[in-house]
C-alpha cells in the first residue's frame, strides 16, 4: 500500500520509446500533442467535438513513470506527454517570467507538457506530476547548487510562438 507520509525518492521505470505526435485543428487553430508507441499512426483528418484534427508531424520521444525507492509507490505520469526547457520568451509567457525571477546561474525551468486539449477546461499536468518530475531530476543532479523546476505547460504564452526546447528527437527520426 502506498505510504502517503513518505518523502519519495523517485527512480525511473517503464521507459517507453515512442513518438510525440502533433495534430492541429483546421477549424480553431488548436494544437494537440500526444505520445504514442505506434510507429504507424493514422494520419487521416478527423472530426471530434467540433474540431477538425489534422496530422502535423512527429518526433521520436520517450515516456516513463516513476517509482519511489523507499515505499514502492508508483506514479504514472499519464498527463505528461513531453518535457521542454524554458529559455526566453515574451512577458505573456508565465513560464518564462517565472524563469526570469530565479537565479539564472543555478535554477532551470522545464515544462511538463500535456496534450494541450485539456487547457480548454483549465486543466494541465497536475502538481503531483510536476512535483515528482522536479524531485526526480533534482535527485539525479550532483552539481552543487544546481536545480531544476518543472511547471505545467499551461503557463506557456502560446505554443505557436513558444521558444522552449522540447526534449524530443526533432528531425532525427520520425514515422514518415
Amino acid at each position: 500500500m502506498a505510504d502517503t507520509k513518505c518523502r519519495h525518492e523517485w527512480s525511473i521505470i517503464n521507459v517507453r520509446n515512442g513518438f510525440l505526435v502533433t495534430e492541429g485543428c483546421m477549424a480553431t487553430g488548436e494544437r494537440a500533442n500526444f505520445f504514442t508507441l505506434e510507429d504507424n499512426p493514422h494520419k487521416d483528418t478527423y472530426v471530434v467535438d467540433g474540431n477538425l484534427w489534422r496530422y502535423l508531424g512527429n518526433s521520436q520521444a520517450v515516456k516513463f513513470d516513476l517509482q519511489c525507492k523507499k515505499c514502492g509507490t508508483v506514479l504514472k505520469l499519464n498527463k505528461t506527454q513531453a518535457m521542454a526547457m524554458v529559455i526566453e520568451c515574451t512577458d505573456e509567457c508565465r513560464a518564462a517570467v517565472y524563469d526570469q525571477g530565479l537565479d539564472p546561474d543555478t535554477t532551470w525551468v522545464y515544462t511538463a507538457m500535456c496534450t494541450e486539449v485539456e487547457h480548454k477546461n483549465g486543466e494541465c499536468v497536475p502538481n503531483e506530476e510536476t512535483r515528482a518530475l522536479t524531485d526526480y531530476f533534482n535527485g539525479r543532479i550532483k552539481s552543487r547548487g544546481k536545480k531544476v523546476i518543472f511547471v505545467p505547460c499551461i503557463l506557456l504564452g502560446g505554443i505557436d510562438r513558444c521558444q522552449a526546447e522540447i526534449i524530443a528527437d526533432v528531425g532525427l527520426k520520425d514515422i514518415d
Binding site: V15, Q60, V62, M83, W108, K142, I167, V170
Partner: protein
Amino acid sequence: MKLTELRDKLSLNALNEIYENEIEGVFISDMVSDIVAGANSGNILVTIQTHKNLIATANLVDVPAIIYVRDKKPAQDVIELANRAKITLFTTNLDAWKLAIKLHEIGLK
C-alpha cells in the same frame, strides 16, 4: 578526471569555456530520448547530434560536457545555450568508436 585533463589527453578542440567539472563516466548517444533515460550526472556525452535540444537534455540530466565526433560543430545559438548552462563543448575528428577506445584507455569507464 577534470575537463582540462581530458582535453589535453585527447587533443580535443574546445568550442567554449572549459568549466571546472569532474567527469565520471561516458555516455554515447545521438538521441535525447535515450539520454534522458540513460545518462548519469557527470557523464561526458559523445554524440554526432548538434541540435539545440541536446543541450536542454544534457542540462536536465547534469551532463557537464559534450564531445561532438567527426568534426561536427553546433550552431552559435547552441554554443550560447551551452554557455548559459556551463556545459563545455568539444569537437574531435575521431568517430565515436575510436573516441570510445581512447576514453577507455585514459581510464574513463
